[in-house]
């Protein structure tokens, strides 16, 4: 019986009983960084610390935390580094603005090229490819 109890408790740490909660935990495992490993999420790492971080995710969810509260829990302990989702603050404004800026700059370049290419009396070219 004691072996069975140990197994059950080991599993309790490894997975949550409710599939919906466990799905949230698995999604969070993907975006929380293992603090000891190199560029790995805790979902991937086989290290002991990742295992305890996974257990902590489940503990927080079981305690009723929302996803954001779980993220905040880890950020408070390990800093922004622990989250693969970059924070949104003055340091990262440029990061989040960059895709929009690139899209706009590229669109400008395409527009220029289109205008330059516009000729009069264009006939379709029939042929291969």
């Amino acid at each position: 019986m004691s072996v069975l109890a140990a197994v059950v408790s080991a599993l309790a740490a490894a997975t949550l009983g409710d599939p919906a909660l466990e799905a949230r935990a698995l999604a969070l495992d993907q975006e929380i960084r293992c603090v000891q490993c190199q560029s790995e999420p805790i979902a991937q790492s086989t290290s002991d610390i990742a295992a305890s971080m996974r257990a902590a995710v489940r503990e927080r969810i079981a305690a009723g935390d929302s996803d954001d509260e779980v993220r905040a829990f880890f950020r408070d302990r390990y800093g922004d580094f622990v989250l693969f989702r970059p924070p949104f603050d003055p340091r990262t404004w440029a990061l989040w603005a960059a895709p929009l800026a690139l899209l706009a700059a590229g669109a400008g370049a395409v527009w220029t090229a289109q205008r330059r290419g516009r000729g009069s009396d264009l006939q379709p070219e029939q042929g291969e490819r």
Binding site: V3, Q38, T46, L95, G117, P124
Partner: protein, 642 residues
């Protein structure tokens, strides 16, 4: 002795590649100089080959007087991995880089084809300087022939994770791709030095670009496949900086493959094609820098030496400085654009380049951003999958939405309405997929949309094939046989992109996983299968010992067995996993063996993953590479015709 020959050969090759550069760029143009340049290129390539062979021999013979052999080999290692060990380390892989560059220089020198002589000799000269730069870096900052005295009796072995066939082939493939991009770079610089780019120049550029893109596709695919079955958590892409380092040149090469078509066919976009060729090689060098410098904390950063990182940065600055400098000076003299309408093949290819270039830019910024923040004292942040999935994925989805229209439109002016009419079956297939997935997944819009886009690409490629078949003459078989190789290659690559999309979205959106403690004989129901742990025991491998678990998997009356291992290499600190994978058309059952559930208990933790459609990812990569290879064949065949 053999090692000294290798080191000497490499030094001599450096002198010859500098000479090759001088003959192509600095010295006056004459038949004698061109002939000398050819001989220098060929002799240089042979010498680097000798140097590389000497290194391979040292690995095969476990010559522990060489520092790299000590660090990366072991007498117990199987022969194949002793050989692969020659490039499974920083120094050896740099020598491989030099070898590929020198061989490409020789190929460029000896296959002039219809190229203008002035442009050709400049290109061979620049390629000589690229080889010289790589050799200087290798010989002075990462010398594979460095000795160790006294020589130890045993090596410290290869990382067991890397002892794998896919990973033995992964670096050479990536390097063929990276260095392959140096040839378009050389051709681009040649065009800028001469101040012109003709259609034969674009014709010469295309096979190199295609070859580089195909090798990058295969190299990245191999790395991803390896990560999938070796790392033991069912993932295949993580937007890791090292993955991004290979993805950025791939995006640039993919854009270049397309823009070079326009430059060759219509003479347009010559300036942009040149700029892309420079950027592509710059990104390949940046990839090398990111991986080799140790600025990234990642398993790939096996060279943690700041001098090396700085040296690669200097080479990168030289290449980009020369490239952009010449571009700024000469870009205006390059050919004029020929006209095209907003709805035309040219315009579609322009949008293709827009999507791919912006994607490469986003990946670049996302990859470098954490270093920038840290450099400016902003502390440590991570930019990972949530950022890239929110930015690059929708951009690629938008690109894929318009992709099937591209091949359907004619050059100069296209007929959008006719293309849309022809594509309606593809649209219907996509809408059916979207609706069915939305219903089956209880309204999960993002993965449903992703799957629909994948189906749209596949069906769009098939529609294009059908349109081209109908245009032919004679019976159906004759039509099939007469279809140009270029049509097959384009369809294969585009359908491959669709198949890859279906796999990527299916796996990411619908994967499930579970952990369970199982004792032998115990079963668990998972993803429509009943998985039973049959037996667990110790096995001995050639240079490791392992715990092996055998499973029986029942699915709808069909019974199969599969095993998973946990391996302990005496040369490594941590155990590695060998997962058990059962592939079906709908997806993979993926079993990884963990640790004993409790000390002394018979139960073991088993992690079960169901990865739907995941094999489509790798089939898609293969189809794309097949498309590249077919297109390359078509181009080379065309080139050999008079």
């Amino acid at each position: 002795m053999i090692t000294e020959i290798g080191a000497f050969a490499a030094a001599l090759a450096l002198a010859l590649s500098v000479l090759q550069g001088a003959l192509g760029i600095a010295l006056p143009r004459s038949d004698a100089n061109s002939a000398a340049m050819r001989v220098a290129a060929l002799a240089g390539a042979m010498l680097v080959a000798i140097a590389f062979a000497a290194l391979v021999v040292a690995f095969v013979r476990s010559d522990f007087s060489l520092a790299v052999v000590v660090g990366h080999s072991h007498t117990d290692k199987p022969l194949m991995y002793k050989i692969a060990g020659a490039w499974g380390n920083h120094e050896g892989s740099m020598l491989l880089w030099c070898l590929v560059s020198a061989v490409f220089a020789a190929a460029l020198a000896w296959r002039r084809g219809a190229q203008d002589e002035g442009l050709w000799r400049r290109a061979v000269g620049v390629q000589g300087l690229v080889t010289a730069g790589a050799l200087i870096y290798t010989l002075f900052l990462s010398n594979p022939f460095a000795r160790l005295d006294p020589a130890p009796m045993q090596g410290s072995g290869l990382n067991p994770l890397l002892q794998d066939p896919a990973l033995a082939a992964h670096p050479p493939m990536l390097y063929l791709g990276y260095v392959g991009l140096s040839v378009p770079f050389s051709l681009a610089l040649a065009a800028l030095i001469e101040g012109r780019a003709d259609q034969n120049w674009a014709k010469a550029l295309r096979p190199w670009t295609l070859a580089a893109w195909t090798c990058l596709t295969l190299g990245i695919g191999l790395g991803s496949y390896w990560a999938y079955y070796e790392l033991g958590w069912g993932g295949w892409w993580f937007w890791d900086p090292v993955e991004n380092a290979s993805f950025m040149p791939w995006l640039a090469a993919c854009a270049l493959v397309h823009s070079a078509i326009v430059t060759e066919r219509r003479g347009s976009f010559a300036g942009w094609t040149i700029l892309l060729a420079i950027i592509g090689f710059g990104l390949a060098l940046l990839g090398t820098f990111l991986v080799r410098s140790g600025v990234l904390t990642s398993v790939h950063a096996f060279a943690v030496d700041p001098r090396r990182g700085i040296a690669v940065l200097v080479l990168l600055a030289l290449a980009l400085g020369a490239g952009f400098g010449l571009y700024g000076w000469r870009a205006r003299t390059l050919g004029r654009a020929s006209g095209f309408a907003a709805v035309s093949r040219e315009s579609m290819l322009l949008w293709n380049n827009y999507g791919l270039a912006v994607a490469a830019g986003i990946v670049l910024i996302g990859t470098l951003y954490p270093m920038l923040v840290e450099a400016f004292g902003g502390g440590l942040i991570s930019v990972g999958p949530p950022f890239f999935n929110a930015t690059v994925a929708p951009l690629l989805a938008a690109l894929f939405l318009v992709l099937p229209f591209g091949p359907m439109l004619t050059w100069r002016v296209g007929d959008l309405a006719a293309a849309a009419r022809a594509l309606w079956p593809a649209l219907a297939a996509a809408v059916v997929t979207l609706t069915a997935t939305l219903i089956a997944s209880h309204g999960r819009a993002a993965p449903a949309l992703g799957l629909a886009i994948g189906v749209w690409l596949v069906a769009g490629g098939l529609v294009y094939l059908r349109v081209r078949l109908r245009r032919g003459e004679g019976g159906p078989l004759r039509k099939l046989a007469l279809l140009p190789l270029a049509v097959w290659s384009m369809s294969a690559a585009h359908i491959g992109a669709g198949v890859l999309t279906i796999g990527a979205v299916g796996e990411t959106g619908f994967r499930s996983e579970r952990a369970a403690a199982l004792t032998p004989g115990e079963s668990i129901d998972f993803a429509g299968r009943r998985v039973t742990l049959l037996d667990i025991g110790a096995v001995e491998g050639p240079n490791y010992s392992a715990t092996r678990a055998d499973f029986r998997v029942e699915r709808g009356g069909e019974i199969r067995t599969v095993s998973a291992e946990r391996r302990f290499y005496p040369t490594a600190a941590a155990p590695t996993t060998e997962v058990g994978i059962l592939s079906d058309l709908d997806g993979d059952l993926y079993l990884a063996l963990g640790e004993p559930a409790e000390r002394g208990s018979a139960a073991w933790i088993v992690r079960l993953y169901y990865n739907p459609l995941v094999q489509f990812i790798f089939y898609g990569v293969l189809l794309m590479a097949l498309g590249g290879a077919l297109s390359l064949t078509a181009l080379l065949r065309r080139r050999s015709e008079p």
